[in-house]
């Protein structure tokens, strides 16, 4: 599904101090995997996330998405791929202010040629259990609910990859678990999940954990028995 080959990302090349955020990194992610990328702040995991999400271009190296080299594509072509193939979930939710939940979920559909926008958005909200909140302003929702709106927005175009950048970072542990539960369910339904986090406990819900340190992958291992967020929630 995704293959990074010798990816290097250097910041501050035009004067200023050079920072080697990713250093000759290789990574292969298979379709349907649930992986967690873990590392301290400044380790390069955010850069990894930006490169994987095609929000940023590597300084050198190749990025293959479904065997297609994407690091040479134009801005517009990348926008189109982001729109159709990747769903983003951010730490700070990034919902539009003064808009309703449903309007936020519709946003990606505006930039694709989708029909029946309202219906698709309603379905996506139902999948995260927020059918009854669709007309609520986003600032009227709790943090956990806001993040679920963001997940619905990430799902609405049926992307194959869901990219979570510290999606539980701004939430209490119960709300965080609920988000992880949704991610695990999405993974079961076939989505490839990439979860970037600095919390070891959250990472252990994935099937595979990648450690990043100083721009290099220092560890990459399978999780034999991933934690089950649903079961954990039941015990709370």
């Amino acid at each position: 599904m995704i293959q990074l080959k010798n990816i290097t990302k250097i910041y501050g090349e035009n004067g200023g101090q050079k920072v080697r955020a990713l250093d000759d990194t290789n990574l292969t992610i298979k379709k349907g995997e649930f992986i967690a990328v873990i590392g301290a702040s400044g380790s390069g995991k955010s850069t990894m996330m930006n490169i994987l999400g095609m929000l940023d271009r590597p300084t050198s190296g190749s990025y293959y998405l479904e065997d297609k080299e994407v690091s040479t594509l134009t801005d517009d072509e990348l926008a189109n791929i982001r729109n159709r193939k990747i769903g983003f979930v951010f730490q700070k939710f990034h919902l539009l202010p003064k808009t309703t939940a449903i309007e936020n979920v519709e946003l990606p559909l505006i930039y694709s040629n989708s029909n029946d926008i309202r219906k698709l958005a309603v379905n996506a909200l139902a999948r995260v259990g927020l059918s009854n909140r669709s007309k609520h302003m986003t600032n009227e929702l709790s943090g956990g609910q806001q993040q679920r709106v963001a997940i619905a927005r990430a799902l609405v175009n049926e992307p194959e990859i869901i990219l979570g950048d510290e999606p539980t970072g701004n939430l209490d542990s119960k709300s965080g678990l609920e988000i992880v539960e949704i991610f695990q369910e999405l993974n079961k339904s076939g989505k490839t999940i990439i979860l970037i986090t600095h919390q070891q406990k959250i990472a252990e819900h994935a099937q595979r954990i990648i450690n990043i340190q100083d721009g290099k992958i220092t560890d990459d291992h399978k999780v034999e028995n991933p934690l089950d967020a649903k079961a954990e929630l039941a015990t709370l």
């Binding site: 982001r82 990034h94 003064k98 808009t99 946003l107 505006i110």
Partner: protein, 405 residues
């Protein structure tokens, strides 16, 4: 991409940032209101004056007024000239057969016109038998001044409909005796209603007596202030004007290097004068309003730039979700255009309402100039697009990573 949905989304954002939107709209409203107000007032005034002048001035008329050419010609010249005589006009008539008729002009200051115990103050004008044709104004009842009236200094008067109404009410004034000051006159006819002249004077307040009677019995003068000439062919006017000038300069003993002590107005000259006057309204004032509009455009640029800075997150997010640079560009330019168009329409309504109030208060007829569409729709959209370009480019070129962090 789905443009209609982006438009919807833009509308929602504008609705929810009411204060920003309000100030952006306000700038355009002021500019467009000023522009359409001055322009519409100018056009309305122009139309009215042109119509009034047309009433007075046919293509085959020439006016000669006593006094040097320019602003203060005629009675109002800085140094009044009392040397323009009926004999001068008769000499002109004799030497230029292309002039077929004339009507001398002389007017008193305000005089009391009295009937019974009713009294009205108005200016008395001199008239002649030919005046009926030259001025294109006849009587609605009674008879016009005759040649005999002129010759005999007859004490007869033609009165305007408003004078008749005020002095006589509903009864018939024809044959009644009125007094002008202390001099008795018989009402011979009632003048056709005409409304206002180009200076705004009410022609229905006219009282006309034979020119000879006016000069001898009411004013005791031997000069007139002007004459209106009727020529047989408008094409000959330029030629006739030259001839008149030669005759009058000779009769008034004006040396070669001295200016005329009279002025000659033709329909062409009058048209030019009106045009000059109206340039103030239709060019100069709208130009000033244009500056107001420019300020409105700058206000939009500044507020939108601030808005882009505030909405960095939103822009980054939209890009992450698949918006292309041109989608962002389109969205921001659309926002400024919608604001500007909205402001334009409001401004147009305010401006036209103002012009309507002004024009009707002046007794002019109000109409909507076709250029209003330009002011209300076209110009605002152009301003919206232009003022949107800089902020929109800034927004479109934002790096999604930088704007999401």
């Amino acid at each position: 991409m789905n443009k209609i949905r982006i438009i919807n989304s833009s509308f929602r954002i504008l609705r929810r940032n009411k204060l920003n939107t309000f100030f952006m709209i306000l700038g355009i409203v002021i500019g467009i209101a000023a522009l359409s107000l001055t322009f519409s007032m100018g056009k309305g005034t122009e139309k009215q004056i042109t119509e009034r002048v047309k009433n007075l001035f046919n293509p085959n008329n020439i006016f000669i007024t006593s006094g040097r050419e320019g602003l203060g010609s005629g009675r109002f010249s800085e140094a009044p000239v009392n040397n323009f005589k009926i004999e001068d006009v008769e000499a002109i008539m004799q030497e230029i057969p292309d002039i077929i008729m004339y009507a001398p002009i002389q007017t008193t200051s305000e005089r009391d016109v009295i009937f019974g115990n009713k009294n009205i103050s108005t200016q008395i004008s001199g008239g002649s038998a030919d005046g009926e044709i030259v001025w294109r104004r006849s009587v609605v009842s009674g008879e016009y001044i005759s040649k005999a009236d002129e010759l005999n200094n007859a004490r007869v008067a033609l009165i305007g409909t408003k004078i008749a109404k005020k002095l006589f009410g509903d009864s018939d004034p024809i044959g009644s005796q009125i007094r002008i000051g202390s001099v008795p006159f018989i009402v011979k006819g009632i003048l056709e209603p005409k409304g206002a002249d180009p200076h705004g004077a009410d022609l229905d307040m006219n009282v006309i007596v034979p020119i000879t009677t006016l000069m001898k019995r009411l004013m005791n003068v031997d000069y007139i202030i002007g004459v209106k000439l009727e020529v047989d062919d408008p094409a000959k006017i330029d030629d006739i004007v030259k001839k008149i000038s030669v005759i009058l300069r000779e009769r008034h003993s004006i040396y070669n290097n001295e200016p005329n002590d009279f002025s000659i107005m033709t329909p062409v000259v009058v048209k030019e004068m009106i045009g000059k006057m109206n340039r103030v309204f239709t060019l100069f004032l709208p130009l000033i309003s244009g500056i107001a509009l420019l300020v409105g455009g700058v206000v939009i640029v500044v507020i939108m730039l601030m808005s882009v800075s505030r909405r960095v997150n939103e822009i980054g997010l939209r890009k992450a979700l698949g918006a292309r640079n041109k989608d962002i560009l389109f969205q921001f330019i659309l926002e400024t255009s919608v604001i500007s168009l909205f402001g334009g329409i409001i401004g147009l309504v305010i401006g036209l309402t103002g012009a309507w109030i002004f024009l009707t208060s002046q007794g002019f007829t109000f109409f909507v100039p076709w250029q209003s569409i330009l002011f209300g729709v076209f110009i605002p959209v152009i301003i919206g697009i232009l003022s949107g370009i800089i902020p929109a480019r800034k927004a479109a070129l934002l790096d999604p990573v930088a704007s999401l962090s």
